[in-house]
Symmetry: D2
Subunit: 356 residues, 4 copies
């Protein structure tokens, strides 16, 4: 049986390059179409994309010709599945067109994340939300499945075992986010060297509403989780890897050891189904006082294919200033687990569940 043919929309950007890298010699998927903006259409990928992530551009894509994000262009190569890393100004419409034309669209863009019948998936956390697909199919041939905001993903994974074991009343998170989250040219060096920027547009709002959708239920519609969530988001001078300082109030009292244990034991569908990109442990708990650190921990995750897919949690301790208070620091790779990697894991989940 052949591999599933996939397209990457917005393939020349930094997240697009992550898709290209992560799909290199993927056991289930093969890239048959790469789209980019008009100026690049017709060029070889190797010419159109200025490669900016570690390692060299995979040989297999160097000579592929960039196509437009038009349905017909993408269709030519027998593409079945579409990954969207499109810029936000065009994502909404193109993803919709693709879904209406019958494609399975997996988007890490924000355009459709909050749609009433579109699941917002972290495979370890809320794979049951995929049942929204059946609702969605009532109105179109194809479907859209979305991957959450990079900051939300790491946080949601770390909260899930706590929610399941102790319940959560309140979450306050303060982030220290990497430069790559703003895109390759998003943050000028003059703006951030010997500096930090205590603001990321729309980020705090996204974290709150996406987290509630993800940790909520799907029963003939999405029911947000009943948790109070507040965020303060900041950009720091780090290339990759979002760090988050989390304060939580649990419903049932938990010791820091109990929190550690439930995190260490945590597994989800990707682990049970042995998906190719699933990390053996979605959460890695570090005991050292000074971890996680972005440069040392952002590529955490075993096996090799799952590097950057694990969330690393450290400094788990009780917080007296809150009732049933717990605080910890988490780190996750914002363009792997936080974007392309999570989307690919969603695709693997869909295949394993015979949805594609």
């Amino acid at each position: 049986m052949g591999k599933i043919k996939v397209a990457v929309l917005g393939s020349t950007g930094m997240v697009g390059q992550r898709y290209v890298k992560l799909l290199e010699s993927h056991p289930w998927f093969e890239i048959t179409a790469l789209s980019a903006s008009k100026a690049s259409v017709g060029k070889k990928y190797g010419e159109a994309a200025k490669w900016v992530i570690e390692g060299e551009m995979p040989e297999s894509v160097r000579d592929m010709r960039i196509v437009s994000a038009d349905i017909n262009d993408v269709k030519k190569e027998g593409t079945e599945l579409v990954f969207s890393a499109l810029p936000s100004e065009v994502a909404h419409e193109i993803e919709l067109n693709m879904a209406e034309a019958g494609y399975m669209v997996i988007a890490d863009t924000s355009a459709h994340r909050m749609d009433y019948d579109v699941p917002l998936i972290i495979p370890e956390v809320n794979s049951d939300h995929l049942s929204a697909i059946f609702e969605q199919r009532k109105r179109r041939k194809g479907i859209i499945v979305t991957s959450p905001n990079c900051t939300t993903i790491g946080l949601a994974i770390s909260l899930k075992p706590i929610l399941d074991n102790f319940g959560i009343k309140r979450v306050l998170v303060s982030t220290m986010q990497a430069l790559s989250g703003a895109g390759y040219s998003g943050v000028p060096s003059m703006a951030i060297l010997d500096n930090l920027i205590p603001y990321i547009k729309n980020e705090e709002e996204k974290v709150v509403r996406e987290l509630l959708k993800i940790l909520g239920k799907y029963e003939n519609g999405f029911i947000p989780a009943n948790i109070k969530v507040g965020a303060s988001c900041h950009r720091v001078c780090v290339l990759d890897g979002h760090t988050e300082a989390v304060f939580i109030e649990t419903i049932d009292k938990a010791t820091s050891n109990e929190i550690k244990e439930c995190m260490k034991k945590f597994k989800g569908d990707p682990q049970h189904l042995s998906l190719p990109t699933a990390p053996i442990n979605p959460i890695i708990v570090r005991e050292e006082l000074d971890r996680p650190q972005p440069r040392l921990d952002r590529l955490a995750g075993e096996p090799e294919r799952a590097r950057g897919m694990a969330v690393v949690v450290g400094r788990i301790r009780e917080e007296q200033a809150l009732d049933n208070g717990i605080k910890y620091v988490l780190l996750s790779h914002n363009t792997i687990r936080g974007a392309a990697g999570n989307a690919i894991l969603i695709a693997e989940l869909l295949k394993a569940k015979n949805i594609i």
Copy 2:
């Protein structure tokens, strides 16, 4: 009337250099003794100190001979007041010796901050705590007055007007602290470039206990404030200027505008007494979405002599995840307001109140 003669203990370190710079042509004080470790004693300051702060070393100190931190050495020049920026391993004993020998010691070290009769002063916040001096004088000829931890100072200043106007129930703070807080050689470049370190030894404990002492009362002893305080402290790749993301729960409900207004109006003794190093506004409120930023705001404070003495607060907004919730971001210069500058302001306050 001549200037008051002062000594700086630990004068060659980074905070020591801040003292030297800030005391250059001070209207009330003049440096008559500079101490450093044994290896430097007898050398000229210009040879012993590798100058690391912006601007050149003041001419007036270049040829001064380093003395030991011994009482007799310091005494020779008629020194009346001693600023201590001593390393923590020796601070406790030397400061005590100095105080017992009759000196007025102003220390930004942590050694005596929590002593039962030693005031821990931010002149704008708790100058009334200076009455502990009378208790202290019962047991020794001289006195010790301490300046708080760098992270605590900015936080306490920002909280004071809120406490006075609305009351505070709970404070949760997540910090992004500058490299200079660890001393010049404290953080290797290999440890922090493209990275952050989510841990600073003893810092979280200091913030909690010092804040409660400062915001508490002195009535025949220190009565800590009745506030729940939690902290998560992190080192980021910024030279100077600690940034703090603060979540608070007030007792009386306040809008973000009311918080802004009370911060803008805030003045304390240094302003009323027109102390030389007092900033016109101890808190500067910025309305831009992306401020404060360390590189742009760390030297805030008017007039010229008060640069780095103001706390800059921005992004003041209401927080739905807390009852009567408010959140904001603050920035203060950790070696000026957070150390040498605050200690000098304490000295000015003592003089203006005729304590020295």
Copy 3:
């Protein structure tokens, strides 16, 4: 007698902001017009310019309305002198129009630097080249005087006393240039953090040809200096301050001490005429093994108004690999001495010489 009224074209960019800052309370000049691109025309400067240099925006310009770079717009306020920090795509034409309309234009752009009758001036080095103005006036009412490329200026100043005292046969320079040289958004943080870029477009060519014009003669036309010059230009992760490693071959043999002495003694017209922005010593020689360093030395220059106007030279030593070889490291502030500051010093020179 009133101050001379000046316009700054391209006033909202980083170099434009330097002009605004350096001209704040200038004894001879006052800003009467600030131009920027169409989108900003009509807005207050305080709204149109996102202030990015150290210190706050001067009060005096906050409410000035941005005008277009049109001759009539600029004329309204009685402007006599025009400083151009225009983007290169428009500089050529606008500067020409201004000069033809009778303005004295001082440009730090590259558009007219190599024109046959346009002087390329570093006031300490080749003020005699100003006689080209008389030639230029034959073809238009006004005149253009240009300020060299930022990398060339520091180099030329350091070479001038050597050229005068010993002659120079060959210069090989390898640069480590600051981020601000590429403009505020010129270098993305993702491109340069934990990295350097060994290429700056057109820079090596500019250094060679401009240096030869500056160090050459004007005798009824510019006669380039007879020196062999080679350059290799690199961008490093430093905010401000270009560092250059220079290897030279002198014509007459010189010891490193002789080189130091001639640099220390070096003065030019700005010093003899006591121009307001002239540094007392255009070259500061440091004896420490590890200086100059950009962060510590980029604001060198006395008095206060001349900060960033001195070139700091260190590590002057003999080089055995060359005949009569000398090598040293220099540093100069690329947007002060390397741009706005040098242009203002040119204007001061023109006034002192009664050309304006």
Copy 4:
């Protein structure tokens, strides 16, 4: 046949960790002893070494007990070969003791590099210098072979094909060296952020004398190459990877294309012998205008085991300021090819030549 048993002296430092990482699952060598300073002796490697390089510490060494650098301690495990990454203050004596006790010592320290009978080897460049071993064996049982300074290695490799094809008269190099070259704690972050340091102790002298020994001949003694070499060495804010701007004068005229071609074709003994750590191409020539860059190119080298072993050269162009002038920029990983990797390649060469 079993693997050769090796010890790593100075195993907990940054270069020591590179050895440990590069020797993980090495086909020919296995680590049987790890030494470190007294304070660590007896501890498990996993406790004694704070792991600071990318990836996790290999499982195989975590529980190994640190031994002293004493001959008997090292001997116990049947060690045959000793890699020395000792601190310079102790390297001279310990390496000598080891060699006298009969060990084959491969040292990347500078202690014995210039000894009259000790070869200073880059396997691709001067493997014939190994004949000095026979001379050395006259005076002791074991032998010392040394690996050059990190800056010299990349430079020598890039020069070798030019020397062989066109001859070299003069080399002037200006370096931009990485932080790791100074050891993990060598450069404080306060010293280098938004800065560079134009001085590295003894580095320029080492580059000159080592380069001449390496490019020279061994005929009953080392005869230095007849090339004029000058260096200016600078530290920049880059974690790993030394960049060097090279100006050369060839004896026979060469075009930039001829230089490129001879570099691309260059192979040495490691390639002919297919040594495990040999890169397929010791020199990789890049055509892009803005390469090499440290972050993108420092891990160049195929196959997987040879990552960081290739020297990347770019911007090869003719230089008019020199007779037969050529200039280019090179990059090599200072702790892989520049230290541990080159030493391991030497060991592989010795084995392939049946010297061990």
